[in-house]
Amino acid sequence: MQAGVIPFGDGKGAIKLIHEIGKGTPLGRILASGTDVTGKIYGVTHVPTVKGQSMPAYEPRAVKGIGITYATTTMGADHTAGYTIAPEILGVAGKVDPLSPEGKAALSRGFQTATAFIDSSGHCLFIAFPILDIASGYQGMIDECNGVFGTNWTADDVGAYGAAVLKKERAFNEAAGIGKEADRVPEFMKTEPLPPHNQIFDISDEALDSVFKQL
């Protein structure tokens, strides 16, 4: 739509383009290669991706914590990697202002480490909602892990375990040539205010780098 292939708002046209993918036409093959590649081929810059992963659901300028997760997680733009939407929008595990940049690097780091633990211990990510809001639920998860795995974990061990997982993921990405220069949101989000709140993504590169630096 940005490139003018179909007009913005043309839902039926978008569905037709999806069918091009199935037909294997040149346009279909371009689209099937993803948002990043399609944007490069058409020479447009309003492309909401990080590390080649197109952004799901949430806009970094309107919800700054999830923007930090999108920029810094090893997965590319992935809301599940550190779902700060919980406190920023849903009021789970407290309520923080989605438009404020204050404390958001630490918030994303906390969610990313907790998520790495939840993912690695064989849990569905959706346990995060009850365990973050109910203290006995959090301890219950730890007790459950200890019972199943024979470990002696405490809450501190959960954070340390998650951080260790993230460090391994990070080392993998760096060895594959994906370093901290890839931990950035698209340029246009840093300069163009987004209505209705008219915010830009005003998180500094230093703050973004601090997410993993301070693991």
Binding site: P56, A57, H79, Y83, I89, L90, F126, F129, P195, P196
Partner: protein, 79 residues
């Protein structure tokens, strides 16, 4: 006054004629709040989690105006 409403996800079940995310018009008394709108639709207020009025998050006691666009979500998360 007339407002335009979208009910998302499981909230659409509170009316047989409403589809999730498809806008419909409602007539409300002047100075009705989001809570009044929810009550008129027969939705228990605890089933609502986030309400938007003209693109901004508002509490249930927000007073509506003619032509407002209201979107209401149940407690859901995801991408």
């Amino acid at each position: 006054m007339r407002v335009i409403v979208k009910l998302f996800a499981s909230l659409a079940r509170f009316s047989s004629s409403i589809q999730s995310g498809v806008p419909f018009e409602m007539n409300l008394p002047a100075s009705a709040t989001v809570h009044d709108l929810v009550t008129q639709l027969g939705i228990p207020s605890e089933e609502t989690k986030i309400s938007f009025v003209n693109g901004l998050i508002r509490d249930l006691d927000w007073v509506l105006q003619q032509g407002d666009e209201v979107g209401i979500f149940p407690p859901i998360g995801g991408g």
